[in-house]
Symmetry: C2
């Protein structure tokens, strides 16, 4: 088992990475609360595979183990769904000695984390990510949120879990499209922080897509270490942490503009990184060959490298609502060479040029079969 | 002007107490953000009196000053109302350089604070309390929340304001019933922490009800100092801070059992303190004469000293859902002598005996005039 420590003063915690952790009761001994309640928050897709196994592993450590099963999908990352968690907690008279367990992908992790941050002004929670994206990114660092009709992740909290358990064996039930989406965040970590890791990914991208356990363990651990270092220096994103948003200003615009859930977050980040690298080239920061190298790896990961045609106005609108917009300027995370991220305001005309250069060929309308 | 400092490490802030602060632009210089937006959150009752004045005082310090006016009342302390704040923030493309100003009573302060805690995972906020209850209690200490249909203040955050501005002149528009409700929390601070202050209150209760400025300034400052000391030692209510809930376990049950908004929070706490003092006597902690002394002061403040007849089962149910219930036991803040609070689990039978001894005479049903 690999353990990565997130060094956050009194809120420090461990990420444990290995196959089979979910079924081992020892995994959760460190967060035991023999008089307390465990509430597993999961979704209709993940529950049939793993909820019973997690329940069994938690039972020795808690007085009660309850389950709250939510509908699956980004479109349910809303207040209404979050409120189902609160209603369950209150119906079962859960007190402050309750620990929430987020069993699922990024949506479940973000919602469970925000529920834990807000229920009675804060109860403990544990991340049990079952997607690659959640294991390498969203379960680490304490960002929690729900979407608002006017913007993604606009309502949330910085709130750290007590423990993250990344059981690699849960990735076996992950659809290939979701695995690729997770690889987008893996590539992002390499692009912003570690050129050696980028070379390693070029050598192992096929093994990762084939779910080789050793390759997965290595990739998850390296990503968590990179993210841990960044988060330890800037827990609440006042500066440095923004580099983790490489590809995300374009990506969020794609997700929002296409309607949440149509593009997976990782897919939008994949295309978003291609656009951000192109913008870096346009501003004289990155060599064209390096942008091409990155785009090639993104394509090999099974991710889109072209932008949807939202129209220039809607692109601008969605990029401006992004959280990194401050005082009206849109700031992008760009690459001043591979592995060297910079946060910089860029003219909207240049950003639009990057989009225009990477537009998807327009798709023929499907003719309804009658 | 009296300034009370809340010593909370990097989140330390000042409470400024005086008449006329609202109309003085200097009051807000310390939280200026010349490129940022100020959003005043207020309600339909308070806005006509004070919103324009606050806007004028903020204009020199911010690029934009916006206003969000909510309906007035505890029954609107809900997600739906909170969401109006988020929608306004997003519609106006407010970024992280936005400061929220809570202009109103406890409900506005709690909701604005939670909105500030959650919007983009946290933006600054300032409390401008316009009720006595908010000035002596809810605006200080960083507790923010909304209600859930199954429990009061169940969803929220510990989130500190950057500044609290208690303008005593705003109390002139406060209905007498609301002033009395505020006095409940004033009496609470004396009862749990300062017998001298209790004696001072006995001598000045009539001056306070008559809105004598000097008496009000003294009472607000003393309460803030007491609360500041408690909060500085236990920001997130892991122990000591619970003493601030004296009267609140009974009080919350009254509020919830009667339907939010029918009893004012302070009225419920007034009767709740009488019950908690009685329970303290029953458990041999408090002299009967001291319980009577406290009840007399509560009555002189214009507050109820009798409990509504919810029925024993509903009383038990509402007390158990209170946040201080842990592991199934109901814990009360009791008095081990005046000024000496203790947190203790009490048998439900004893709590029910205290309620039974203080039941309101049943009210004759109103006959509809036809």
């Amino acid at each position: 088992m690999t353990t990565v420590r997130i060094a956050l003063d009194i809120r420090a915690y461990d990420i444990r990475i290995a196959s089979g952790l979910l079924g081992a009761p020892d995994t959760f001994a460190a967060v035991a609360s023999p008089k307390g309640t465990a509430l597993i928050v999961t979704n209709t897709t993940v529950a049939p595979f793993y909820a019973a196994r997690l329940e069994q592993s938690l039972r020795p450590h808690f007085a009660r183990v309850l389950r709250c099963t939510l509908p699956d999908g980004e479109q349910y990352k809303t207040w209404e769904t979050l409120d189902q968690i609160f209603t369950d907690l209150l119906r079962h008279q859960c007190d402050r000695k309750t620990t929430l367990f987020a069993l699922g992908g990024g949506v479940i992790g973000d919602m469970t984390g925000f529920a834990a941050a807000s229920y009675m002004r804060g109860v403990p929670f544990v991340q049990v990510p079952t997607t690659l994206l959640a294991q390498v990114d969203s379960s680490v660092g304490g960002k929690t949120a729900i979407n608002h009709p006017l913007g993604k992740n606009m309502i949330g909290a910085f709130y750290q879990p007590r423990l993250v358990v990344a059981d690699l064996s849960t990735l076996r039930t992950l659809p290939p499209r979701e695995l690729s989406a997770g690889l987008a965040e893996v590539i992002k970590h390499a692009a912003i922080a570690d050129v050696d890791f980028l070379a390693w990914l070029e050598a192992h991208i096929d093994a990762l897509r084939a779910q080789d356990d050793a390759a997965l363990a290595e990739a998850v651990a390296r990503c968590c270490r990179i993210k841990a270092q960044v988060v330890a220096q800037d827990e609440t994103e006042t500066g440095l942490r923004a580099i983790l948003n490489f590809g995300h200003t374009f990506g969020h615009a794609i997700e929002a503009g296409m309607g949440y859930g149509n593009w997976l977050h990782g897919e939008a980040v994949g295309a978003g990184m291609v656009l951000a690298a192109d913008l870096s080239v346009r501003l004289g920061l990155l060599a064209p060959a390096d942008a091409e190298r990155l785009a090639r790896l993104i394509a090999r990961a099974g991710l889109p490298v072209r932008a949807p045609d939202l129209g220039a106005e809607r692109w601008a609108e969605w990029m401006q609502v992004d959280k990194k917009a401050e005082g009206g300027e849109v700031r992008f995370v760009l690459l001043n060479g591979l592995g060297r991220p910079v946060l910089r305001a860029a003219p909207m005309t240049e950003a639009q040029a990057s989009i225009a250069a990477h537009l998807q060929p327009s798709q023929p309308q499907a003719v309804p079969s009658a």
